[in-house]
Amino acid sequence: MIDPSVFQLICFYAFSAVTIGAALGVISLRNTVHAVLALVLTFFSTACIWLLAEAEFLAIALIVVYVGAVMVLFLFVVMMLDIKQEHIREGFIKYLPVGIIVALIMLGEMLAMIGVRAMHAQVMGANPATVAGMSNTEWLGTALYTQFLLPFEIAALILTVGVVAAVVLTLRQRTGVRHQAASQQVLVNPRDRIRVVKMAAEVPAAPQPAPGKESTP
């Protein structure tokens, strides 16, 4: 039976190697879909390293937010760039082998993580959450709103700047574009829309059928 701490160390180096290899793949692969898949693998391996360090909340958040949402969006965007339908179908088969390889590596990493947990290996140093007798998430929340309040708020400011910058760089006010003005639509008065006109009935003149010609209404 292998020593738990040795197995943990082996796992750490394996995850790190995969992370670095996949990260190199992201910037060197020519095929954009392959690059995005490599990025998925990078995030997943990083999450595994964080799990080894018992930072469960961060690891899960990374997988749920980045791998689950952001990367899938990236894949959609990258695949949508090739508009033609048949191209997409061709691509699906073409990308399958790389996808399977990435999935297999991820499966291997998951099994290794389960192995580490099953052996009850020691963590890499003192975990502040365990010391404080709290769960990982609870400790993170407490630290974020007390000790690290200022950096947390500055991060919020940075996001605000991101929103302002995105608007100022992309919003174009073109003239001549028709759009709905909801406020004006609500304010409209029914009387302005329909005008009831009273007038004497007109007696049509006696019909004079003209062959091949239609009377205009």
């Binding site: 200022l150 950096p151 940075i158 700047v161 760089l169």
Partner: protein
């Protein structure tokens, strides 16, 4: 837990955040023709912030939010001058922005957010605050550079700035993570004690090297200067003037916090690295500037050489050197604002006044503008009675007192080389014949003319009376 005291210590920053958000809202509900009011309101916001910084200054250095934020004399001086130069930038930039249909409320909001980043950065007491303050500053700057969306040059400059800036931030962060790994602390105050007792000195030095690279990039010191000429030339001049002034104070503040407050114990290691950066910056900045024909590019290379002089002060690694470098950063921020201010004042719709040839015979057409530009050029070159001369003298003195005579000699030699290209601008203005068909005169906006004249004349006045300002710079490093 943070309490009311922490909030009082952070009052100037919190006030600016609230003011920036209010300006953003006000802009959204304002008619375009009311925008000049927003302009003056932004200037007033910055002036009130200067008052809050000075009035609320505690006698001793205090920390807030678990040591994340330090309010001391160094931060006070840097904040006052960062806010002052930004207010000048707002005043100079307005006619230029109006002429180019860039007179947007977001220009003011983003610039104020960048200033908040500067204030947080120079007051940082923790590696996290250093990084986040820097990101707030640089992200706002990227957006400002790209403000003129329809200009290809501007977009190219923004992309270049963004990619290289992200790389530099990555380097800095990597260095910080290694320093954290070696010492186990992110707090700069604890780092000061922990740096000597680490079990992994190699890792610490490795981290230090990456941090110096990050600082070199943010200062724009050679060999990390590649972005400066393109960004200075590509961005609208109204943005160049901001990037060329207040962020230099922030870069000095960052270097001081990281190297002196944090890793001061390793000074014998970083002194030599900074000396190499200084020599390269002096050489590349001054030599490449000689062949420039674009005025903004010339000033960009001049920035690189000036950052070399600033590093000469930091190389000293003692209170004298820090005071000289702080003094140099202030003098450079004021001179750079004035230099770009003159360019902005001479530009008008459809005419950028970017080329040195545009200034031909300026003396015959606008003697006052030529006189102002001449004073700024002499001050940048370091001609005696002006402000720039004493700033150079003090950093050279600091280098000599650090036992680096050779470095001071290199600095003096390149000051003479630099004199050539500054004098060339003066020669073009005074002795060349004006090109037919290029009408050129100062902006008719009275506020620009008055404030610009005061700004330039301040360089002359401070040249004679630099004592009190330098005394202030010295005092903050003694206590």
């Amino acid at each position: 837990m943070p309490n009311i005291n922490d909030i009082l210590i952070l009052l100037p920053e919190l006030y600016l955040v609230v003011a920036a958000c209010l300006l953003l809202l006000l802009d959204a509900f304002m008619k375009p023709e009311q925008r000049p009011m927003l302009h003056w309101l932004s200037v007033a916001v910055l002036l009130v912030a200067i008052y809050l910084v000075i009035a609320g200054q505690p006698p001793q250095a205090v920390t807030a939010f678990n040591g994340m934020f330090v309010r001391d004399g160094v931060a006070e001086v840097l904040k006052v001058f960062a806010l002052l130069t930004t207010a000048l930038v707002f005043i100079y930039a307005k006619p230029y922005l109006v002429d180019r249909k860039l007179f947007l409320g977001e220009f003011y909001t983003l610039t104020i957010f960048a200033v908040i980043g500067i204030m947080l950065l120079v007051s940082a007491g923790n590696l996290l605050t250093v990084y986040l303050g820097l990101e707030l500053l640089t992200l706002s700057s990227y957006a400002l550079v790209a403000l003129n969306r329809d200009s290809r040059l501007s977009s190219e400059a923004a992309i270049k700035y963004f990619v290289l800036g992200a790389l530099a931030s990555g380097m800095l962060l990597y260095g910080m993570s290694m320093v954290y790994g070696a010492t186990g602390t992110l707090s700069l105050a604890n780092l000061h004690g922990a740096a000597l007792h680490t079990g992994m000195p190699q890792l610490l030095i490795f981290g230090l090297i990456f941090m110096v690279v990050g600082i070199g990039f943010k200062l724009g010191a050679a060999p990390f200067h590649m972005w400066i000429p393109d960004v200075y030339q590509g961005s609208p001049t109204a943005v160049t003037i901001f990037i060329g002034s207040a962020p230099k104070l922030a870069a000095f503040g960052m270097a001081y916090r990281l190297l002196a407050s944090g890793l001061g114990d390793l000074s014998q290691h970083w002194q030599l690295m900074l000396a190499v950066l200084a020599v390269l910056s002096l050489a590349i900045g001054n030599l490449v500037a000689i062949v420039q024909s674009n005025l903004k590019r010339l000033l960009a290379y001049s920035t690189i050489s000036h950052m070399g002089y600033l590093l000469l002060g930091l190389v000293n690694a003692g209170p004298e050197g820090y005071a000289a470098a702080l003094f140099y950063a202030i003098s450079y921020a004021l001179m750079s604002t004035a230099a770009f201010g003159v360019i902005l004042a001479l530009a008008r719709a459809g005419f950028e006044c970017e080329e040195i040839d545009d200034l031909k015979g300026l003396n015959q057409r606008s003697p006052w503008a030529a006189f102002l530009m001449m004073l700024v050029m002499f001050s940048l070159a370091g001609v005696p009675p002006l402000f720039g001369f004493f700033a150079k003298l003090l950093v050279l003195q600091a280098a000599i007192h650090a036992g680096m005579m050779w470095l001071a000699i290199v600095g003096a030699v390149f000051a003479i080389v630099g004199l050539y290209y500054y004098l060339r601008v003066v020669k073009v203005m005074y002795f060349d014949k004006p090109v037919e068909g290029t009408e050129i005169r100062l902006q008719s906006d009275a506020s620009v003319r008055v404030v610009l004249s005061l700004n330039v004349l301040a360089l002359l006045v401070l040249g004679f009376g630099w004592g009190p300002l330098f005394g202030w710079c010295q005092r903050v490093f003694v206590g």
